[in-house]
Symmetry: C2
Subunit: 217 residues, 2 copies
Amino acid sequence: MQTHSEENYLKSIFKLSKLGNSKVSVKAIADSLGNNPASVIDMLKKLTDKKLISYEKKSGAQLTNNGLSTALLIVRKHRLWEVFLKEKLDYSWAEVHEIAEQLEHIKHNELADRLDKFLGFPEYDPHGDPIPDAKGKLPNASKMTLSEIGAGKECRVVAVKDTSVDFLKYLQQLNIGIGTTVKVLEKISFDDSVAIMVNQNEKSSVSKKFAESLLVV
Amino acid sequence: MQTHSEENYLKSIFKLSKLGNSKVSVKAIADSLGNNPASVIDMLKKLTDKKLISYEKKSGAQLTNNGLSTALLIVRKHRLWEVFLKEKLDYSWAEVHEIAEQLEHIKHNELADRLDKFLGFPEYDPHGDPIPDAKGKLPNASKMTLSEIGAGKECRVVAVKDTSVDFLKYLQQLNIGIGTTVKVLEKISFDDSVAIMVNQNEKSSVSKKFAESLLVV
DNA sequence: AAAATAAGTTAGGTAAGTCTAATATAATTT
DNA sequence: AAATTATATTAGACTTACCTAACTTATTTT
């Protein structure tokens, strides 16, 4: 069983190591957590004793298999709670992260799985980040912006990059939300705008700026 | 802003003082939290400095107005989360308390109120304990068992005392759940059984034992 | 009333997780 | 290559929230 602090270190190492593969420097961890490098080293020693990371002097930290699955579970909980806060409690995109930072540390065997089921097994959180499944596996599709989708192809909106009121209002007007299907009909080279079909029935034309703010899979 | 530990002390004092009115002894707090009396005194000093309780040597601790509203908010969050876990995540009555002990410490301005709204402003938690409203006010009806209700009176089920599978199955058969309206038609003195009307349309007869396991308002 | 028990208090100590300051080592710049 | 800068490490200290042990003050019991 890990403390809150240990979990935050594991999460940080996981993120900095690009999915747990590479080694992470003391400084990088210190910067990401806002802690002093000396404190980081203390913790790296403890995590090594617990066999959650491997760490030798001067060579950076790397997650063990055990540490990796622990980190994935924390990330899973964080992102599921973000979905809950956004979808069920109507929190804004901006607010969910801070609260999920606390909720991710709640410990109970089946909690993540039950929450997952309750939310309908979402694959992406409100920021468009992928949610690991119960086995720690990430959805394989990588997210792109709508502007990267080729003409004729269909995709599904998983998140938005812009969270301004203006943008969200515009989204509503266009009938676009998380989960909406969008087909790219044509890319207009004249002004880089994009002709799209929303939910198989509603044509629109959107600007380049707009297309770059929509994350899709 | 309080630490987890401070919040647990406030909650403990609140409960031991019967809604925050009387003074609470060091030993009572120590027993309820499983801590050493010496530790309790350390914390009482800290809470006094923070003006959350008043405490003088040998005379026990009492919540200030500030401490009382803080304690009520913690209780509110605890019980709302219990409702969430039971109603939305299908946790059993037995499991919710332990998880809510963690969730009650999650801090964010509107969280309790948003959760309250999402759950439909419940008045009682799965154990039948009353949930303080946004202003810290408790629902005024006090809960009783069905067996205490007089003939001819109508009441609403807020919780059950027995959580065995057998009992819960039987409840389902009778179409009784949280929120169900039950009218007491007659109390049979022969065997202390109770004739009831469920949801204004379904007559049943239940045993004394059953009536004592249903909490109503 | 004296002895025994219970409750409250003080003093000093520990572990977790942080810090600062000093030092060592590695990487860059000149 | 030497000097500078960046990073890593160690040592020692602080805070929180606990603890034990010893002592004091009440309250019971005999």
